[in-house]
């Protein structure tokens, strides 16, 4: 790498991935030494947090921050090598994952599923983080596929981890549906390469914006985007791609489910936002799809209206299925699993609004709404799934039939869950309020009555299942299981820490909003993205030959 002013920033881009990779390898090698394994694991977590914080400050938020930085792997310029890109959007997602990741990691050291013997828990944990981080940072479509695979394999093991028949079955469903998605992903990526001649996302964006200059016929990309959208919807768990969620979320250890809901789900959302807006928004393809049954036509000068229509339908289905399903569950994690389906619908709604927004202002605003809602969901649902872990390790169960009176048994645990539940409902001044407020506001600004009605119905369902869960497990007569419970103070401290974060985000919302705004602007700034990645032509590549070797 030649010395440039952006040199440090550039190296920072790959830093979080290197940290988790080293942590994964280290914990794998130390498999027989539990203490060292835990120490390396925690050090890896800390290093990851530092790396992400450094990206936040030196690349995105600091006074001299460039806003975006790239790392060309192997010093091979884009689009010939693989490019990693850190911008506001990536940094926002990474920060979210880092906060929850640390909580889940520390939690895991207190409650290691399968006991303290030889275990692959921590390597898997770090590999999962590697996949998520790679997906947020890569600027290459095929490379995105690779990190999806890493995520999938690591989470597959976790779903099957506890080893019972029900876990194996959940894992089988999970891996089957996700492997289908992988095949579809490959088909889509192959199609895009065949159509546009590139896999680099920045290069793709500039080629799609001026297809004639590159001698391309970009018409097929809308269908290909449809294929990719289905893949990302599987990751995000949008209806009708949600089938794996209830069983997989219940089968995985709760602290991992916290990550599945808080982090890998957000990868799907991130990919939808990144591809739809940064890459495909400027594509010069007109769409026109009359839908005679509902008497509307999807029309526009870019693929966005198509994405938007699909997202509206999927989000509406998710909000209703998730909400209605959650009200009838009979265990804590059952409620939260269905709730995750519903909540991701609330995140997808503003994304859909952004695709159909009349002006750039509303588009930015809607994406901010989606990001803030996503942040709240990560914090709140992360907290709640970790709380399921605490309840299970304290009482041995998380079924309502066996629970009751937890509030008096452990007031701090109850308080944390109360805050988490209220954040889901959207009570001010918690982070969840701003999520809900911004999403409602985006719908109001878009002037969409039906969407507002949908959001109202979904929110009412949220109150219904949150209060039901509270009454069934935290109030009521104390059961034998709760009577005999021993609540781990460190686990509760982690939950309280997340609850404090939820409150802090709401009370001190201004900086969070500014970060989300930076992220949303980055998501919409195709030109800045392309300039930063700076795709070269073949002759430029030949001219720079020998520079790095």
């Amino acid at each position: 790498m030649t010395a440039t002013p952006a040199g440090t920033a550039s190296t920072l881009v790959i830093a979080p991935m290197l940290v988790v990779l080293v942590a994964a390898a280290g914990t794998l090698l130390l498999g027989r030494h539990p203490r060292a394994r835990t120490a390396v694991s925690l050090a890896g977590g800390a290093g990851y947090a530092i790396a992400v914080a450094a990206i936040d400050w030196y690349i995105v938020l600091g006074p001299d921050a460039p806003g975006i930085a790239t790392y060309q792997v192997g010093d091979l310029p884009a689009p010939f090598g693989i490019t990693l890109v850190a911008d506001g959007l990536s940094a926002f997602m990474l920060t979210m994952v880092a906060i929850l990741g640390i909580a889940s990691l520390v939690f895991s050291t207190r409650h290691l599923p399968g006991g303290e013997g030889r275990s692959y828990y921590f390597p898997l944990f770090h590999f999962l983080a590697l996949g998520v981080t790679g997906a947020f940072l890569t600027g290459d479509l095929f490379n995105l596929f690779v990190w999806f695979e890493v995520m999938l394999m690591a989470s597959y093991v976790f779903v099957a981890y506890s080893g019972g028949p029900q876990h194996t079955r959940a894992a089988f469903w999970y891996v089957t549906l996700n492997l289908l998605a992988s095949a579809v992903f490959l088909l889509g990526v192959g199609g895009i390469y065949a159509t546009t001649g590139t896999l680099n996302m920045a290069d793709l964006a500039q080629r799609l914006a001026e297809p004639a200059a590159y001698g391309l016929e970009p018409v097929p990309v809308v269908g290909l985007l449809g294929l990719l959208l289905s893949v990302f919807a599987i990751k995000a768990g949008l209806v009708p791609f949600q089938f794996w969620i209830p069983t997989a979320y219940r089968a995985a250890p709760p602290q991992i489910t916290a990550l599945l809901a808080g982090a890998t789900k957000k990868v799907g959302i991130y990919a939808i936002i990144r591809l739809s807006f940064t890459i495909f928004a400027g594509a010069e393809v007109a769409v026109d799809l009359p839908l005679p049954l509902v008497d509307v036509a999807i029309t526009g000068d870019s693929p966005l209206p198509f994405v938007g229509a699909a997202l509206f339908v999927m989000a509406a289905g998710s909000i209703l299925l998730g909400g209605i399903g959650a009200v009838g569950r009979d265990s804590m994690e059952g409620v939260f699993a269905y709730s995750s389906i519903g909540q991701v619908g609330f995140i997808a709604i503003p994304v859909a609004i952004a695709t159909t927004a009349a002006g750039p202002e509303l588009r930015t605003f809607a994406i901010i709404a989606a990001l803030v809602y996503a942040l709240n969901h990560t914090l709140a649902k992360g907290l709640l799934f970790l709380a399921v872990g605490t309840v299970r390790s304290a009482t041995g169960t998380s079924r309502f039939a066996d629970l009751g009176g937890l509030a008096k048994r452990s007031p701090p645990l109850a308080l944390a869950v109360f805050v988490g539940s209220l954040a889901l409902v959207g009570i001010p001044p918690l982070s969840g309020f701003f999520g809900k407020f911004l999403v409602f506001d985006a719908a109001a600004r878009a002037g969409s009555g039906p969407v507002l009605v949908l959001l109202l119905v979904g929110s009412l369902l949220t109150i219904a299942y949150a209060t039901r869960l509270w009454n069934r497990s935290f109030w009521g007569a104390r059961t034998d299981a709760v009577e005999a419970a021993t609540v781990d103070p460190v686990q509760v401290a982690i939950l309280v820490g997340l609850a404090v974060a939820i409150i802090a985000v709401g009370v001190g919302f201004e900086p969070v909003y500014e970060f989300a705004e930076t992220a949303a602007e980055a998501a919409l700034d195709t030109e800045g993205y392309v300039d930063a990645v700076d795709p070269q032509t073949a002759s430029e590549l030949a001219g720079s030959n020998g520079g790095g070797h």
């Binding site: 990779l21 692959y120 080893g163 449809g226 009708p240 769409v287 506001d441 009412l460 073949a538």
Partner: protein, 810 residues
């Protein structure tokens, strides 16, 4: 004089700060914490009193990017409500230690009560829509915690959840209304005013005109009405309030009579100048009078003294809403003055009910009578406040009720509202008759014979008696000299809520007016009908038994229970536990998305094929297709797997013919391995599956759809690039040796140009190895598993179906 920011902030923040410190305070003072609450309430009251006479907006920044601020607005209306909350709060805190003596969970009780009081003060003073909403929701939250105080009690849980669902749910509607309001405000008053309620109220006509121009007037009116109506228990969403009597009585006195439920009324009064109109009149006068009448009738049907008071509260809230609904100045006078009067008499009555329950040990109306012998002071208090509730002159409730009658008459005289013109006054009188009836019934608890069954009734301690006595005294003062209260605070409250405020005068009527006639009819009929109270009571009670849907509770139970039950069935119908269903949905949706995308962009019909198909390739592919069909129709698994390998080997031959020998080699290896593994696994699989013909047909259609989608995708994407290879591919060919130092372009791409992908794939392989090890290791650790997961917890709930039927869709 403009308000002092520090004083206002301190008055709002103090209760919250002390609420946060309650655990510490309680550790030191124990049950005496209640008196700390009194001090806090009185301090806030004092801080607010220093602002008496000032008017204006002060505030702190909160989220400047969104123009959100903690703005506070001080005027007569805000001070009236805020000081009422603090004043009655002080009495409630003083009453609590004796009443709640020996209860557990008092930290939670006092913390929630303090936070609750702070929230009310916040709502009263907030001049920012979102700050107002913040405090609004906090009152619902505090209410949830306090109604559910007896956490192990089913009725407490039921009532708490109901209150939360209704009031927080209503809050959502309010939020949407506020957002629409803010959109309009930022349009016409500038972006700074987006959430600035004070700015909107400064230009009420502009706002109303702008709302109407955008067609948002009725939606906003409706949404705000739902928000305020749920909070202030208006029919048909009133039913949470009577259920909320599951809370400890001091809470009922404070939250569910004097303050929280008035938040909705307060807000209606606050936005009244901006939205007042004919639609406003129709909406709120109708809503309020309906609530007033229905709930008064329900109060007559009550069997429990707290239930009676709860319905009475809803009824009086209806009166205030109706008052504000009438657009004349009398309407505003009714709303403001009755807010004060009702707080005084109803808080006192609830505290009396608390004394009765505490000392007599029952709240059943039928079991109580003649209490004046045992509770003489309480009896005196009750006489004053119950007659005030009934609206009997010269008690204070009479004056505000008289104003309602005047407003109703004014509406029928000055508005062309047809049938409603006489209906409004008639309903107001009709509802008020029931008010007289149940007020007398409550009073009768103290008179008549003392029943035998009633055990020993203790004398209440002084701390239980002083708070209601203070309230009764205040009510008496207002009764004797109502103009004093008007001049002190009601007049300035009127100026904030009325469009054309004038000098307000109240007093005993000196000449005949229609309103006086209505009062006379009300009291007269009430007295005449009182002897038939028992029959009336039984008759009303029998109605819901014959027609359950007439009760709002019935609708709630049906909806909430139905939601749980149907939700369960729905989720288990969708997630039926068969992978076949899941894959069908997933694949259908994927294909739909892809094909719709191709159709939308007009990519479905490529002009020409990019490749020519030789006879050899055509033959190979034909055999492959026949192999594919044979797999699907094979008689046994072995035959299926063997035919599957025909298909695989044909693909390998295709690669050879297409000049890709390395791919062909890979394909042959994979194919051989797959064949071997399948043959090993088949032993473990049942020999046959019974599959219904419908399923077969569905699978066949799905297979064709998936195949068609993949085919179309490949066709349209490869048909568009006539030149075959991309710039990148050509560059790789040129650079393989100079940059990668290798003559095999595939190798160089894998390990050099795209080595990072390979790194990731190596991780995948490592993970695959780990997964096998983990599955084997964890299988042996059954003991650990049962320790942390009880055996059936994953099968009982979501995974309703039996094990998957093969996963053969892939």
């Amino acid at each position: 004089m403009s308000p002092d920011l520090a004083m206002v902030i301190a008055a709002v923040a103090l209760p919250f700060v002390v609420a946060a410190l309650t655990p510490v305070v309680f550790r030191v003072l124990g049950e005496g914490t209640g008196f700390v609450g009194t001090v806090v309430a009185l301090t806030s009251f004092g801080l607010l009193a220093t602002q008496y006479g000032s008017a204006g907006t002060v505030g702190l920044e909160w989220v400047p990017s969104l123009d959100l601020a903690l703005r506070f607005y001080v005027d007569g209306w805000a001070l009236l409500f805020a000081m009422l909350a603090c004043g009655i709060g002080a009495l409630i805190f003083a009453y609590s230690p004796a009443y709640m003596h020996g209860e557990s969970g008092l930290v939670r009780y006092y913390a929630a009560l303090l936070a609750f009081m702070g929230s009310i003060v916040g709502v009263a003073l907030a001049a920012d829509l979102i700050a107002m909403f913040l405090f609004w929701e906090l009152t619902s939250l505090a209410s949830f915690v306090l109604i559910g105080y007896y956490t192990a009690d089913d009725s407490s849980q039921y009532a708490a959840r109901m209150a939360m669902l209704i009031t927080v749910g209503g809050g959502l509607f309010l939020l949407v209304g506020l957002l629409l309001l803010s959109l309009v405000a930022s349009d016409v008053l500038g972006p700074d005013a987006a959430f600035n309620l004070a700015a909107m109220l400064e230009s009420p006509e502009t706002m109303q005109t702008a709302l109407r121009e955008r067609g948002l007037f009725l939606p906003v009116l409706g949404l705000l009405a739902i928000g305020a109506g749920t909070k202030s228990a208006q029919v048909p969403l009133h039913f949470w309030l009577p259920n909320a009597m599951a809370a400890p009585t001091p809470v009922s006195a404070f939250l569910h009579s004097a303050t929280m439920v008035k938040v909705g009324v307060y807000f209606i009064g606050r936005v009244r100048p901006m939205l007042v109109s004919t639609e406003w009149l129709f909406l709120f006068a109708t809503l309020g009078l309906t609530t007033m009448t229905v709930c008064a009738i329900m109060a007559v049907a009550s069997t429990d003294i707290k239930e009676l008071l709860a319905y009475s509260t809803a009824s009086h809230l209806g009166l205030m809403v109706a008052g504000f609904g009438f657009t004349s100045v009398y309407g505003a006078e009714t709303g403001v003055f009755h807010l004060l009067n009702h707080a005084l008499f109803k808080a006192a009555l609830f505290l009396v009910a608390g004394i009765i329950a505490h000392e007599a040990g029952t709240r059943e109306i039928d079991e109580l009578s003649g209490l004046r012998h045992d509770l003489p002071v309480t009896a005196v208090i009750t006489v004053i406040v119950a007659l005030s509730m009934a609206g009997i002159p010269p008690f204070n409730g009479f004056y505000s009720k008289e104003l309602l009658f005047e407003a109703a008459v004014e509406a029928s005289q000055h508005h062309d509202i047809g049938l409603l013109g006489w209906l409004y006054p008639a309903v107001a009188v009709f509802g008020s008759i029931f008010t007289v009836l149940y007020s007398l019934r409550f009073l009768s608890l103290f008179f008549g014979e003392r029943p035998e069954a009633l055990g020993h009734v203790h004398r209440p301690p002084v701390t239980l008696l002083v708070p209601p006595a203070v309230l009764a005294l205040l009510a008496a003062v207002v009764s004797v000299d109502p103009q004093l209260a008007v001049d002190a605070i009601v007049q300035s409250g009127l100026e904030a809520t009325a469009v054309d405020p004038h000098e307000m005068h109240v007093g005993l009527p000196t000449s005949y007016s229609p309103a006086l006639g209505m009062s006379a009819v009300t009291i007269g009929v009430g007295l005449v009908a009182y002897p038939s109270y028992g029959r009336l009571h039984d008759a009303i009670r029998s109605i819901p038994r014959t027609v359950p849907p007439i009760e709002a509770n019935w609708w709630y139970d049906t909806a909430v229970d139905g939601l749980s039950g149907e939700g369960r069935v729905f989720a288990e119908t969708v997630h039926d536990g068969t992978l076949r269903t899941y894959a069908t949905w997933t694949l259908t949706a994927t294909c739909t998305l892809a094909l719709a995308g191709f159709v939308a962009a007009g990519a479905i019909a490529p002009t020409e094929l990019g490749v020519e198909v030789s006879l050899a390739i055509a033959l190979v592919l034909l055999v492959a297709v026949i192999g594919g069909v044979a797999v699907a129709t094979a008689e046994s698994h072995i035959a299926g797997v063997l035919t599957l390998s025909i298909l695989g080997f044909m693909v390998a031959i295709f690669y050879i013919l297409a000049s890709a020998p390395d791919l062909a080699l890979t394909q042959l290896v994979v194919e051989t391995l797959v064949l071997v593994i399948f043959l090993l696994v088949i032993e473990e699989i049942p020999e046959r599956y019974e599959v219904e013909i419908g399923t077969v047909a569905r699978d066949a259609v799905l297979s064709v759809l998936v195949g068609a989608t993949a085919f179309v995708t490949v066709l349209v994407t490869t048909g568009t690039r006539p030149d075959g290879s991309s710039e990148i591919a050509r560059a790789y060919a040129e650079q393989a040796i100079p940059r990668g130092g290798g003559a095999n372009i595939v190798n160089v791409t894998l390990v050099d140009f795209r080595g990072f992908d390979t790194l990731g794939e190596l991780a995948v392989i490592a993970l695959a190895a780990i997964s096998i090890l983990t599955l084997i290791v964890m299988r042996d650790r059954d003991g650990d598993r049962t320790a942390t997961h009880d055996g059936d917890e994953l099968t009982g709930d979501d995974s309703a179906g039996t094990s998957s039927d093969g996963g053969d869709d892939e």
